[in-house]
Amino acid sequence: MPWDEGLVASLVYDRPDPSEGRILTYAQAINEALSLALDRDPAVFVMGQGVDDPSAMFGTTRGLQQRFGTARVFDTPLSEESMMGVAAGAAMNGLRPVFMHNRPDFVLLAANQLITHASKLHFMDNGQTTVPMVIWAAIGRGWGSGAQHSQAIQGILLGVPGLKIVMPSTPHDAKGLMLSAILDNNPVCVFEHRWLMRKDGVVPDGFYRVPIGKGIVRRQGRDVTIAGASHAIELGMRAATMLAADGIGAEVIDLRTIKPLDEEIVLESLRKTGRIVVVDTAWMKGGVCAEIGCLAAEKGFRDLKAPVARVGLPDIPAPAGFTLEQFYYPDAARIAASARELMEW
């Protein structure tokens, strides 16, 4: 199972019941969203290193170039900063680029264009220009990706005004949020976790949108809230199952969008449970965990029965080796343990 394989197939998922509807993988759902968007609107185009490769970005771009042509689906030079600016400039002039990166680390090469330009130009121009663009990146981990090929950068970008960030956890949402992101008139980062690419799920046919900025309750519970997005929900759901065995009712909140954040869904859940574990695939310091932890203490303080808990990456770069990775990345057991501690507080 070398490299590429190892990167996407590290989890085994329960297969959904096909009687519930049409089953697609997460990667297929993204592919369908891109295809629909390209079809509906000639302004949409897809760019990125290797989007027309045979490996097709985990399959998400499979067939798009054949169907929509090389002008609308094209490979780029290795020039992340310029390409981000090119996407922004095209967006400011009537197009809707989807700029794809197979690792989020490479988005950092374009930090200046993303943070200081694309996200702020609409404000700076007093609303005269819009910058409708999607910055897609596959976040992930494992199989030796190490410190330079698996940084989850959502925490770094959380403080950037004017930017939106979505992190879907299911094939259904991957499609619906991608469509929303493409139709949004702002730069939207769509961060998808590699380990979800093979996940199956029921995906409606045709066009639909999952709203940006709205979370969803994945599981109801009265004792403790587990909040997160993307792959963290996978872990959170498993932790909830473990907790149920101990008689602890965990409510799992899938934020879906981490900026702008659906504060109300978190506070609402907290009103019920009074306890919260924030889970993120990125570093805990100054990121999503910190933001939601602070939110709980700021606007949900009256409901808090125990300290806020965060489960994410320690303040350490990602190690490359397999054994070290096991110590580094949080898992369901760690989330459950954290929740149990809050129950005993």
Partner: protein, 341 residues
């Protein structure tokens, strides 16, 4: 010590290129440059009054590049620029009142008092945007050219850059991409030999900037930046190529800024460049050169010149008065346009 001397043909160059142009066209260029100069001088004169609470980067001495270039463009063509944006904005037809309102931080500024002098924009005039980050506008303009190409629009994009802008990697990346895709874009590099107070020689080895650009596989030109007609001609050729689908061009135009990098007045006395160097370039002031040519040939009357000066003076006075009488933004304005709907 004069580090960077003028190497152009001066008046002879103007005379040579003026052949075949109508007098009215030449006078128009002259008027355009003079107008920018007078606006800049007035901004400079009033700057110490603290009403314009904004950085300024004057183009005094560099008027020929903006005016020569924009004279070869249509309204539908787009111009992007960097921090030194007044010249491009005005030459492309940007609204003077909106600009001065912006500089006075008024609600009706061209960017609603949110951009400041480094972010002048006038979409109607085709002044599409700027970046205060050196090199920041280069890929954005390249993306605008990509949009024009993909949408089959008959539109050329120009991005004004400085010499130091070519040191930013993003410029190399953007030249590569523009050449690869044969985009309808013109990179107009105003080489004024300095980046703030740093001379070119401390930042680049002794090479010619347009030759560096040429290595990215696109046509390049060296145009005398004090000769408005040279810039016009080079741009015209580049525009023709772009409209014909033949791709990008890089134009280097050596120029000199007569004032400090930022703010009012010259700062040569601080020692980073020789006053004699500025004096040499002032002898080839782009406006003076064209004026000399026009008057020597009798293409402009002194009465016309006086009228032009008066018109400009009145326009400026009115625009400043308008700006000073304009309303300040209110708190609610701050919360608008963070996200687009």
């Amino acid at each position: 010590m004069i580090r960077y001397c003028y190497k152009g043909e001066g008046l002879d160059g103007i005379a040579r290129l003026a052949q075949g142009h109508e007098a009215a066209f030449l006078v128009g260029l002259y008027r355009s440059m003079l107008r920018i100069r007078r606006i800049e001088e007035e901004i400079e004169r009033r700057y110490h009054e603290n009403q314009m609470k904004t950085p300024i980067h004057l183009v005094i001495g560099q008027e020929a590049t903006s005016v020569g270039c924009c004279a070869a463009l249509r309204t539908a063509d787009l111009v992007y620029s960097s921090h030194r944006t007044h010249g491009a904005y005005l030459a492309k037809g940007g609204d003077l009142k909106a600009m001065l309102c912006e500089m006075h931080c008024r609600a009706n500024g061209c960017a609603g008092s949110r951009g400041g002098s480094m972010h002048l924009i006038d979409k109607v005039a085709g002044m599409a945007g700027t970046s205060a980050v050196v090199g920041g506008a280069v890929p954005i303009a390249t993306g605008a050219a990509l949009a024009a190409q993909m949408k089959h629009e008959d539109r050329v994009v120009v991005v004004f850059t400085g010499d130091a802008t070519t040191e930013e990697g993003v410029t190399s990346e953007s030249l590569n991409f523009a050449a690869l895709k044969r985009l309808p874009i013109i990179f107009l590099c105003e080489n004024n030999f300095y980046s703030v107070q740093s001379p070119l020689a401390t930042r680049q080895p002794p090479r010619e900037i347009h030759r560096w650009a040429a290595a990215h596989d696109l046509p390049v030109a060296l145009a005398d930046g004090v000769n408005v007609l040279a810039v016009f001609q080079a741009t015209q050729a580049a525009v023709a190529r772009a409209r014909a689908g033949e791709g990008p061009t890089f134009i280097e135009a050596p120029v000199y800024r007569f004032r400090a990098h930022g703010g009012a007045g010259d700062d040569s006395r601080m020692g980073y460049r020789d006053e004699a160097e500025r004096a040499e370039w002032e002898r080839v002031c782009p406006i003076k050169l064209l004026e000399t040519y026009l008057t020597q040939r009798g293409l402009i009357q002194s009465s016309t010149m006086a009228r032009v000066e008066a018109e400009i003076r009145d326009e400026i006075a009115e625009a400043f008065a308008f700006a000073l009488a304009s309303p300040n933004p209110v708190e609610a304005d701050l919360y608008r346009h963070v996200y687009a709907d």
